[in-house]
């Protein structure tokens, strides 16, 4: 069984779907228990993978490779390396928390959780696949299950083809076209990502076109300015447990896809177009920060905050140029920072979203004091303060280190350093934004924190505490995380260097 941990991780939710189909709709508790057990087991599997992951070894680990089709040489190929391990970890955390947040809901439980588990399979498969056909399959499963998850559960979208539907179709078509070009543009018509990356047989013009197609597709999912409007409208309309999935992991598909398909398979285009990533990253940072300041709704603010954080990720990814100009350290620092930032954003956004669910802004003044829940009143203000600190990246928190890495990497490279300098303004604006929220949350509120915990949200505190713990631990001991990805990032930079020498 331990040899097939990755398959188990991918297909376990499907087994869960099978069981859910057999259970009657009214047994909501059993349905929820099974679903949360599945995500819990997944989390345990991820711990097993993390524990057994050799941090000194380059290349893929836990590989599962077998033939799927002969004539088209499509393989069933799963593997884990430093690049995707954090995504599967983040996915399992996000899904586990999302289902806990969903726990008290009793509307459309069965159909929601069936699609929820399908989405889980799609995401796990997407991050672990090393075959382009499988990548496409799981990407499709992910995007279309996400769409159905939203329309099944959300009544506000009635009679309207939800904006996310357009985004999904357009993004998927661009990515599909890009992947088809990747498959049929290489000399051996290979679907294997490793083979393609070692052969690098594309012409320069072909690489640029394919990279741009993939970039547009993934940019829509990121979302990058000006394709961000779907994210803001989704956040305001959707419940917190879906928002956790969207902001926690879905918007990270863009970064992963760009890295796995763009950087590894199209190194020439990556080097040539890396300044473009820097420009777009900087625009995202400044635009996101400015918009976040002006927001009066915490949910909207989180949306723009996420757009800004995506900007940092892009800035970090732009440092890949360092591999081509012999500044390895800058590239390694920047890319590691970007990947660390992805994980950190995933954790912080969970807490912010839960806070936004607890603090509907207009209700803060009406909160009444309750004497019975003293224990909560002592913990909760601390959580709020820590979250806000982590949000703007106070030293000692993981976000500080990751955003610093992105900026330090970028500032060492000529051509990209200017973007790093401009991005510092974004950090200042972000701090200002969070201070504003301090003011809103604490000045309007003079009562006891206990009362904000309605019966349905009491369990949030047990979700918030471990996540805060992760943010603090990673802020103090970032090496726990960085050691996971170091070797893979170094290999990527070497690949780029090798190509630039050629």
């Amino acid at each position: 069984m331990l040899n097939h941990l990755l398959s188990l991780n991918v297909f376990l939710p499907l087994i869960g779907v099978f069981f859910l189909l057999l259970i009657k709709n009214k047994n909501t508790k059993i349905i929820k228990t099974i679903s949360s057990s599945i995500t819990g087991i997944q989390l345990w599997i991820i711990f097993q993978i993390l524990a057994g992951f050799n941090r000194q070894k380059s290349g893929l680990q836990y590989v599962e490779h077998s033939k799927w089709t002969e004539s088209l040489s499509i393989d069933f190929f799963l593997g884990v390396d430093g690049i995707n391990i954090i995504f599967i970890a983040l996915t399992s955390i996000v899904f586990f928390i999302s289902i806990l947040t969903f726990w008290k809901k009793n509307k459309s439980v069965k159909e929601y959780l069936i699609i929820f588990l399908l989405l889980d399979t799609g995401l796990m498969g997407l991050f672990l696949s090393f075959d382009l056909f499988m990548f496409l399959l799981f990407l499709g499963l992910t995007l279309f299950s996400l769409y159905f998850l939203i329309i099944v559960h959300n009544d506000k979208t009635k009679d309207k083809f939800h904006r996310l539907g357009f985004v999904i179709i357009i993004a998927y078509s661009f990515i599909l076209l890009g992947v088809l070009l990747l498959i049929f543009g290489n000399e051996s018509f290979s679907y294997n990502m490793l083979e393609i990356s070692h052969a690098s047989s594309y012409s320069h013009g072909f690489e640029i076109i394919t990279f741009l197609l993939l970039f547009i597709g993934f940019a829509l999912l990121f979302p990058i300015f000006p394709f961000h409007s779907w994210l803001i409208s989704s956040i305001t309309k959707l419940p917190v447990y879906i928002n956790i999935i969207i902001l926690g992991i879905i918007i990270k598909i863009g970064a992963y896809g760009l890295m796995r398909l763009g950087f590894y398979l199209l190194p020439y285009a990556t080097i040539k177009l890396s300044p473009l990533l820097g420009i777009i990253g900087t625009v995202n940072i400044i635009y996101g920060a400015l918009c976040a300041i002006t927001q009066k709704d915490l949910k909207n603010m989180i949306g723009y905050y996420s757009i800004m954080q995506i900007g940092f990720v892009l800035l970090g990814m732009a440092t890949i140029k360092g591999g081509a100009v012999n500044n390895f350290q800058a590239a390694i620092t920047g890319i590691s920072g970007a990947w660390f930032h992805i994980f950190n954003h995933g954790t912080i956004v969970i807490i912010l979203l839960l806070l936004s669910d607890i603090f509907p802004l207009n209700k803060i003044k009406d909160i009444k004091i309750s004497e019975n829940k003293k224990w909560a009143s002592s913990i909760f203000p601390g959580i709020v303060i820590l979250t806000l600190f982590a949000g703007f990246g106070l030293p000692g928190f993981s976000t500080f280190i990751s955003s610093l890495f992105c900026l330090v990497g970028a500032i060492q490279l000529s051509g990209i350093n200017i973007f790093a300098m401009i991005s510092v303004i974004g950090i200042a604006l972000n701090i200002f934004c969070f201070f504003k929220w301090f003011n809103i949350l604490f000045s309007n509120f003079s009562g006891n924190f206990d009362s904000i915990f309605s019966e349905t949200k009491k369990h949030y505190i047990f979700i918030l505490l471990p996540v805060i713990f992760i943010i603090l631990i990673l802020g103090i001991f970032p090496d726990i995380f960085l050691s996971l990805i170091n070797i893979s990032v170094e290999n990527l930079v070497k690949l780029i260097t090798m190509f630039s020498v050629k």
């Binding site: 009657k24 709709n25 009214k26 799927w68 089709t69 002969e70 004539s71 088209l72 499509i74 459309s108 069965k110 159909e111 056909f133 496409l136 399959l137 799981f138 990407l139 499709g140 499963l141 279309f144 769409y147 159905f148 329309i151 099944v152 009544d155 979208t157 009635k158 009679d159 309207k160 083809f161 939800h162 539907g165 357009f166 179709i169 357009i170 078509s173 599909l176 076209l177 088809l180 498959i183 049929f184 018509f189």
Partner: protein, 474 residues
């Protein structure tokens, strides 16, 4: 082998004629409903058995003056019989029985299948023409018989399209006869090669045949009755039998051309291009029309026509692999379509229904799944077949890249149209109080769903199997 009296060639066809006659006389004598059902069912099973017994054993081609029997014709005839049995079952599940109408419906269905059988196997120009007319007329009467009170202009339109199509085919056949001086298809091919008849005229003839048969099939699909979901059996029988029969003869023609590649030395590329362009035109027009429509039934109709375009696109590559992929595409499309029709028939429409307890009904789930399969969403057979088709076109290179781009844009538009429709249906779900359970149909739907997932994963083995089938026939 070529003895005209060797009747074993014709046994399934003769059997079909006999059953049609028996049903006709049963109707005349107002026979009991159950007895009529038994006769029809036994007839179908008998035809299936004799098809296996008499026509599947030809490992290689069996030529005759009138018909050809090989593994390919056997495969297509098998599909026809399956469609016939399915439509018969659905007729008995869904329809209110009127004794006189029952017999007429079964009679026309059998005649329609007979026409399909003849067209698939026909080795003679007159027989091909006759088969096309039989199919067309039986479809016409089936539709009229179902909607006697609604004789509208659409039937006039069908007749006009049918007449135009028949005229085109007739003119083409006269032209062929003038060139080759024989009616036998095999001899026509030999004469073409021996007498060095210009390739351009042959290509023109082929395109005329495709257009003639195409107009017929498209007009049937456009006007058939999908709006009345009580008629699930018609929704299966009417578009599927002409499609299977049309592609049956189409595949045979294409395989013959493929065997004559020496003859087409210079103009094969032009033929490929022309076929590809026809395919793109068909699928683009159908897709664009589907954007205008809001009704589920019309969208599905246009989707069916667009899929025919994709199958022709696969055929236009002219290689054994492409034929197998096109055949696979045809099969997957038919499965998805049948799935949609059975599920819509069960739910009496495209509405998504949930039971009193809040569960989504199996039929509604199946409907969503098969509709998604029709627009090639991953993990459905539609995706596997379209991927195989695009892979094939891209590996062919040159102008086929552009075919892929146009095909891809059309697929995306169709995806948008169906997702838009599904969005509405899912958000406006209907709760049903009395959830009637028709167990055999539910088992059928479940079986189709499982089969579709199986094909979606192990599609390559099916493509290979089809390739071996075609190799024997080619």
């Amino acid at each position: 082998m070529n003895n005209f009296l060797s009747l074993n060639y014709f046994i399934p066809e003769i059997e079909l004629c006999l059953i049609a006659i028996i049903i006709y006389y049963s109707g005349q004598n107002n026979i009991k409903k159950t007895r009529l059902e038994k006769i029809t069912l036994i007839g179908y099973v008998g035809i299936l058995a004799s098809l296996f017994f008499f026509q599947s054993s030809y490992s290689h081609q069996g030529f005759h003056h009138l018909i050809v029997i090989n593994s390919l014709t056997f495969l297509f005839k098998f599909f026809l019989i399956v469609a016939g049995i399915l439509s018969f079952l659905l007729y008995n599940f869904y329809n209110k029985h009127v004794p006189s109408s029952d017999a007429e419906n079964h009679f026309y269905s059998i005649v329609l299948i007979l026409g399909g059988f003849l067209l698939i196997s026909a080795n003679n120009l007159i027989l091909i023409f006759l088969a096309i007319e039989i199919i067309f007329i039986s479809v016409f009467f089936l539709l009229i018989n179902e909607e006697q009170n609604e004789l509208k202009t659409k039937y006039l339109n069908i007749s006009i399209s049918g007449i135009i199509s028949s005229l085109i085919i007739l003119l083409t056949f006269i032209f062929i006869y003038g060139l080759a001086n024989t009616l036998n298809l095999q001899k026509i091919c030999e004469t073409l090669i021996q007498n060095s008849i210009p390739e351009t005229s042959v290509i023109l003839i082929l395109l005329m045949v495709f257009i003639g048969i195409g107009i017929n099939i498209v007009s049937i699909i456009k006007y058939y009755s999908l709006k009345n979901f009580n008629n699930s059996y018609i929704n299966i029988l009417v578009p599927i039998v002409p499609i299977i029969a049309g592609f049956g003869v189409g595949f045979r023609i294409i395989l013959t051309i493929w065997n004559m590649t020496d003859y087409f030395e210079n103009n094969l590329l032009a033929l490929k291009f022309a076929l590809g362009v026809i395919a793109l035109l068909v699928l683009t027009i159908a897709t664009l029309l589907s954007i205008i429509y809001k009704k589920g039934s019309r969208i599905v109709k246009m989707n069916v026509i667009a899929h025919l375009g994709f199958v022709i696109l696969g055929l236009s590559v002219f290689s054994m692999q492409s034929f197998s992929v096109a055949l696979f595409y045809l099969i997957t499309f038919l499965i998805s379509y049948i799935g949609v029709i059975i599920c819509t028939g069960y739910d009496q429409g495209f509405k998504i229904k949930i039971s009193k307890k809040g569960n989504i009904t199996l039929a509604s789930f199946g409907k969503i799944l098969f509709l998604l399969s029709l627009v090639s969403v991953p993990f459905t057979i539609g995706f596997s077949s379209k991927f195989a088709l695009f892979a094939l076109l891209i590996s062919e290179g040159s102008f086929h890249y552009w075919f892929v781009v146009v095909g891809l844009i059309n697929s995306i538009l169709m995806l948008y149209v169906v997702m838009r429709m599904l969005h509405k249906k899912i958000t406006n779900r209907r709760k049903i109080e009395n959830f009637s359970k028709k167990l055999p149909l539910l088992i059928l739907i479940m079986g189709l769903i499982i089969f579709q997932f199986y094909l979606a994963i192990f599609w390559e083995s099916v493509v290979r199997l089809l390739e071996s089938y075609l190799n024997i026939s080619g």
